[in-house]
Symmetry: C2
Subunit: 332 residues, 2 copies
């Protein structure tokens, strides 16, 4: 462990080692002033020898910027916000910006506390993300903000969201292209916007091949297993089931296997999320829709950098999903 | 979106609204100087009306501290480091410290880049975490560092780790207390320290009830299913299987059910991790060992604050695990 007595070498240490004044050392390292090349070089070598790192806080204060971005998340379990955060961090670190994490745990008081703290730290911008696709109230800060995954209710704000409609439609079209003629849909709670949109998109894309009504339930394997029993009573000749999540799809596959129905020979199944511990561990592995959340995080961060640079793009940016095909529709 | 023209109100705006000089306004807000109570109150009201937030960077520069901590993680999938990060963030934010996220993606060059950037930002300390329990080389920075989950190879560094030995032993003792007499162990790769320690601890705690040798394989459901076939050929009368992860245990339960063996009536099963999507979705839900990683993150952050305050605790702090009992050992 570094002892408290080992302090970060400062410009004075560099100057002393190089045998120059602190102001000369500073000029040498900043490539300013009129110095002989040999002096500049001697200072540079001294800085390298001491492991001197310039204090970026001075630059930050002088520029009026902190080179820091705050990320507000309401999603402490993090299944959606963690990849968004990692993508944003990746894009920001490439531009020497740091990402400060603020996990509000869905508590409005904590959110207010964090906003005050971020404003007080003079962060250059804020990314706001959540775990639902429903729009959320905008935050009120005098700093650039971009919303990711959960858009702002204000259409003039900048929000980056997933094309859930296109994602669900791509799964249905894939099944049609494989010759499936009776497509059902099993999804999460009807109160969730993402469940509604995915159901509507599936019906729209499957058209006359869609059978029955969307089966709304919960985002769980248990519901997927139960829904198979409900569905097969009502639609015994169904040959494809699109699901609103990989968890549901995994439960659907498990129950079909227990009933002796082959996936995909008898019934093809698709998931949604491309959550690897579900999609790959499923028997068979799932054809599913990847929301590309890490890329969404990168795009969000780059849009925020544009706003910070004074070139805001207003409104919603809707990013495409990607269909990943595996054995649950293609077979082995 | 906040327009670029809406700038953060400054001390001069507060002073103008209150009808005092900027230096008087500053004294009023900092509770310094000799001012009349009425003046102080008028400045405070002006600050509140404008939503003025003091610039904490000034305090940071004056104190020589940045009130910021960096978190270096090598684990971008994040199953272990995310809860540690959230726990650390929780503990730090309570003390008005910000957590800066640095995801190295297991790339030593990225790690070096981040370390330079954190030193340049004058962070007050660094938390280093990873996804393996093997010790790692210490990082070389003139700043306080605490290691979480993956300890430093230097025994003088401060590291906070999980009591894997105690965790695995608690599962075996639980099975003994339920009267199980033939306990087997199925786990991940023998090259992983965590697999070795959990296997040794299980054998030590089960003593004469342990049957055969630990079955090493991979951290997957597929291996759990396969291991059941291997195990039942060699030890047909086994009445308990302890597993090195929840994924393995879930595969074990699935395969036992397919073979018509009841869990726990015929064979009790335990997992490790208390990873809810595995432990709760398993049929039946898993008795498992919770490593309490969020608490580990909190303890790490608090230890780092102690080091920053000049009271370092050197060496390894080993935190206890918690056994969570569910239907896979207790039945319904």
């Amino acid at each position: 462990m570094p002892s408290r007595s080992i302090r970060t070498p400062g410009i004075k240490d560099v100057a002393a080692l190089a045998g120059v004044s602190a102001s000369t050392a500073s000029k040498a390292l900043n490539d300013t002033g009129q110095l002989r090349a040999a002096t500049r070089e001697r200072v540079r070598q001294a800085a390298e020898q001491l492991g001197f790192t310039p204090d970026s806080r001075g630059r930050a204060l002088a520029s009026g910027r902190s080179f820091t971005v705050g990320l507000i998340t309401t999603d402490s379990s993090g299944r959606f916000s963690i990849p968004i955060m990692l993508g944003a961090e990746d894009a920001l670190s490439a531009g020497e910006m740091a990402l400060v994490l603020c996990d509000t745990r869905d508590d409005p008081l904590r959110e207010q506390h964090y906003l005050k703290s971020l404003v007080s730290r003079r962060v250059d911008g804020i990314i706001v993300t959540g775990r639902r696709t429903e729009a959320r109230e905008p935050i009120d800060v005098p700093i650039p903000v971009v919303y990711a995954f959960s858009p702002s209710t204000d259409p003039d704000d900048t929000s980056v969201i997933v094309d859930d409609h296109g994602g669900a439609a791509s799964a249905a079209r894939h099944l049609l292209s494989l010759g499936r003629e009776q497509i059902a849909h099993v999804t999460g709670p009807e109160s969730h916007l993402s469940a509604q949109i995915r159901a509507a998109a599936t019906m729209g894309a499957a058209r006359e091949a869609f059978v029955g009504q969307p089966l709304y339930g919960e985002w769980s394997e248990r519901w997927g297993r139960h829904a198979v029993d409900v569905l097969l009573r009502a639609q015994p000749t169904v040959d494809a089931i699109t699901c609103g999540s990989d968890q549901i799809a995994r439960g659907v596959c498990d129950r079909l296997r227990e009933l002796g129905r082959s996936v995909p020979d008898d019934i093809a199944v698709t998931g949604y999320d491309n959550w690897s511990v579900m999609a790959l561990a499923s028997r068979p592995p799932l054809t599913t829709v990847d929301m590309e959340l890490e890329e969404l995080g990168r795009r969000t961060a780059n849009l925020l950098l544009d706003v910070i640079a004074g070139s805001p793009r207003r409104g919603q940016l809707i990013l495409p999903t990607r269909l990943i095909t595996r054995e649950s529709t293609l077979g082995t």
